[in-house]
Structures are given as structure tokens and as C-alpha cells.
Amino acid sequence: MGVPPGANVILAGHSLGGLVAQNLPVLSELGYNQRWKTVRVIAFGSPIMNQLRLPDSITRRFAVWGDPVVTQASYWAAKIGFKSMFFPPDISGWSRKPIWIDGGPGFLDPIGLHLAYPNSFDLKGYDALGDQPGSQVLQLDAAHERQWATDFSQSTANERPWVVRGGVATSKQLQAGTAKHRGVPDPPGLYGFSVQYQPGKTIQELAAAGKFRNPQISVTTDAALVAAGVAAGYAVSIVKSPGAGYHHTVQVPLPLPLDLAVALSAVFTQEENPARFLGP
């Protein structure tokens, strides 16, 4: 990635990115990557799960009160006895609390809470290394700046990578909808449930494309969905697939396990269908 060998690295990430940031140094300890020295890991709104234990001295985990990815994802990971080489459960994480911060108004909006970090007034009291009080300031070197991904914090509400389904995304509904995707031959086949998804499209555009007949739609984001899956111990991905509108398939095991169905259902919120289809 162009990082000089032996460099001091600060890893920071939001949601799934924060989870990955927590685990990259663990891989380094296991010998997978010893090129850099991780001096600090800062995670925002990420599940708490690094059983291989980064030293507390280098981790800072910020959590907005009510953020479902922090609370429910960690809860389900612990409850099911998550077992994985890279993402084992941090049961002790319940005693090592994250740094709780206020995300501002919107406590009834789980997605909003998960995306509230850039606007948290509390974060202004921490320095560049996540310490309070602290005096560390990062001076960015624009000449050597590289960008590997879209700056999500600069997105407007309508540009967030929404995932939309018709109806109420209960665990039962997700289980009923999980099937082999017809039209995708075996092997490899495609197994999962249908969503409307296209980064850059608004919720209304996705709802209209889906021609949903239900009075309500269920909405989440790609990051929240994937993070919930990872935290529950399953690889969840969103792939483009044949179908109407902006049809994608959320790839999950078939049949969809109840624990994963519950975890995924928890990151959806319901709202009135803005483009209800009532045609023949």
C-alpha cells in the first residue's frame, strides 16, 4: 500500500472498517504482517471483538449510545460463542467498555446513530490519538496523501449506500426469502435474500425500482448489514444479481440460521413506503 517498512501506523475505521482495524495488528502479531508498527487503533461504531487482545494501551473504541452495531452485533457474537481465527469473540469486552459518546438527537433512528460519529460533539474533546485530555495533532502531508476509498463522512444522507427491502424485515421474513437465486446456475450458484441496492441512489429511488407492494419498507446500509453479519460469525456480502430494478442478493447460508437472521433484522429500520406499487 505504499507504507514504508517500519513506519508507525495509526489505524482508524468506522463500523466494519473499525473491526478490520482492530484485527490487522493481531495478524501482525501472528506473523502475517510485520512491516509496520501499529501505535494506535481507533474504531468508531465497531463490534467489540478482538479476543487475541490488542493491548488496551493502543486501542480506543468509540461508541455512540444506542448504536446497534456496537451493542447488538457484539451481543450476538458473544451469545453464539463465535469461533473464527481472525474474528473470535471478545467476551471480556463487556468488562472493557468502549468510550461512550453522545451522537446527538435521533435516538429512535438506529441507522442515524450508527452514522452519527462525524457529528459527535463529544469527539471534539479527544486528540488525534483518541486521548482525553491530549495534545497530539496530526499534520497531514497532502503531497503524499492517497485515498483508497470514498470518504463516507462527506456523503449526504441521500448518497449513503442504502439497502432497501419491501415489508418488515423480520428474522422470519429474511428466512422465508433466503433461497437459491433462480437464474444463477450451479455451480457456484447464489444463495441469499433479495434487496434493492445501488450506491448513490436514494431510498425513494430504490423503493420505486423495487415496485414494492407493502405499505412499509425496511432500510439499512451496506456497512451495517455486513458488520452485523461478521459480528454474528458469518460472511455476509452483497452481490449484484439478475432481477428487477437494482436487484442485489445478500449472500447468506441456506437455510438462513436464526441467529444470523436476528442479527441482520436488527439493523433494518422501517418507514412508510414512499413509492408503493399498486398496479396489476
Binding site: 415489508g167 418488515v168 423480520t170 422465508a176 433479495s194 414494492f212 407493502n214 436487484h247
Partner: protein, 85 residues
Amino acid sequence: MAVRLYVDFNTMAMDPKARVSINPHMQPVLTQELHPGLVVTLYDEEMEVEAVVEFDEHDHTWLGQPNWSMRRDLPLPGNNDARSA
């Protein structure tokens, strides 16, 4: 009384004929009663609709072709009013 089958109406999006998939894992006993041409009621938390059962030989999948003129919104929890199509 028509067989009632819980479904996910989002599955219509992946079918060229906008048919609804009937997941045998959800109601294995009821699925044994299905045969092509059977009129059933498909439902979820919010609405129900009459449908004619079809069997996809290629994918070995039971499907329901809804008659959307027979859609009926189900009462919301705590609300006794049903809203019809």
C-alpha cells in the same frame, strides 16, 4: 379454506414473471400439500394475496403467481381495521 403460506414478497424481484417463491423450510408440512394450480393465500406481516401455485421444474421450486386484485392489507398490531386493495 385456502392454504395460507408465509412468504417474502421480495422474492418476486428475481423472477421474470414476478412470481413469489414458496420456501419449503418455512412450512414443510403445508408444502407437501401443494400441487400446480392450487389456489393458496400468500401472506407476510402486512398483507395477503391469493395466488396460483406453480412448480418450476428447472429449479425444483414452488412458486405462487399472485392475483393482485385479491390483495388485502392486514391489520397492523393494535388496529382492527383491515385495508383492502
